[in-house]
Symmetry: C2
Subunit: 228 residues, 2 copies
């Protein structure tokens, strides 16, 4: 078992490898291999163990009641799965995790995790920080979803991207399709609104690169819901 792998993930940041080894010395945990296509965790299965992906790639899919896949997230090694859902009064995996390629994972029973966290304050702080960051991202996405119109969402998104950045040109960094999905709107609607904003002279679109031409208009729209 190569604990130096673990030292590279945020959960173990700031903890020397020797210390990590010591932490796991008396904590029941085991390594497990998964062939491509194997299921690491079923959706809605009781979440009674922490799974840390050591090598390979895992696909997390949320299936809605009709059986249609709603959301996909890729998890690359080395990284933990569903860290925030390990606890809670009715903790279940929110997604199905499937190996996208041959993978190995470190599996730690929930009871061990509690003991481990209590033993190392840095590890505890990391765990709490990761949980809080996750919750913050959820909160932000909710705030995001609360905007009424697509133009408002686009404006907010572009302003966020351009924050802490000298240039007024931003890189989307993802496909417009995936952006539409993130916004919860249809792809043609997103394209149309982007076109409209370009026609209005607010932005200039070049592939996945967008130049913000009238930042003031974007700001006003986000702040007041209308412009002028």
């Amino acid at each position: 078992m190569d604990y130096s792998l673990l030292s590279r993930i945020p959960l173990f940041r700031g903890i020397p490898v020797a210390e990590i080894e010591h932490i796991f010395e008396n904590a029941p945990s085991f390594e497990k291999m998964y062939k491509k296509g194997a299921v690491l965790a079923e959706q809605d299965e009781a979440c009674n163990r922490l799974i840390i992906l050591l090598s390979g790639k895992v696909r997390a899919e949320m299936t809605d009641p009709s059986g249609k896949v709603v959301k996909v997230e890729d998890i690359l090694a080395p990284n933990p799965l569903a860290i925030l859902f390990l606890f809670g009064t009715n903790s279940r995996f929110p997604v199905q995790a499937t190996a996208d390629e041959d993978s190995t994972a470190l599996v730690i029973p929930k009871s061990s995790v509690l003991g481990i966290l209590g033993k190392n304050e840095v590890l505890l702080k990391n765990y709490l920080d990761i949980s809080a960051d996750f919750a913050s991202r959820l909160s932000q996405k909710l705030y995001f979803m609360s905007f009424r119109t697509i133009r408002q969402k686009i404006s907010m998104f572009l302003l966020e991207l351009s924050r802490n950045q000298a240039s007024s040109t931003v890189q989307l960094g993802r496909t417009k399709s995936s952006l539409a999905e993130y916004f919860g709107v249809s792809r043609p609607s997103l394209e149309r609104e982007l076109s409209n904003m370009q026609h209005d002279g607010w932005i200039a679109i070049d592939k996945k690169e967008i130049a913000i031409l009238k930042k003031e208009s974007l700001v006003q729209l986000v702040r007041f819901g209308v412009v002028k």
Copy 2:
């Protein structure tokens, strides 16, 4: 300082009063009084302390960039404020907390919290459970917001209310105005859709009481997006 108060909040559930006293023995923390109208925490202020409301009532308000109050939540004693935002890489209070009446609070510096959590495994588990539950609720609301039409949201909401309940009649338990706000839709639109569903024979509305008449239709709508 009356630690028996603390034993009544979820964070200290399952911990004897004597043990709570012991926990706080060597942890820096202090009690503070707030007059009605006093501010316990500013929005976006660094979140470097855990505030546990011991008596009184606090109003949590989120202000959007234009200065308009977006959301209000009431916190009654005894309960902690913003427990999930204490940690995280850039932890700040997400709301402004103002005393709605004369209140007292126990204030614990962030560094003490870490030490306390490491010392008592039950407390640690409570903290993690509370965090996870909060995140789950956020997730669920996000799932909720992802429904396209108002009718789908209403259906999902009514099915959730009627779950684990013999009767097919549910009590809204809140005003329709606040429900519209929760859904992120305009009040007239919600009213109209409720009317439509009643005209279609799916539900029967009597004030804040709604009878589910065609549960199958609601289920189908939520599952497949369409009925028949």
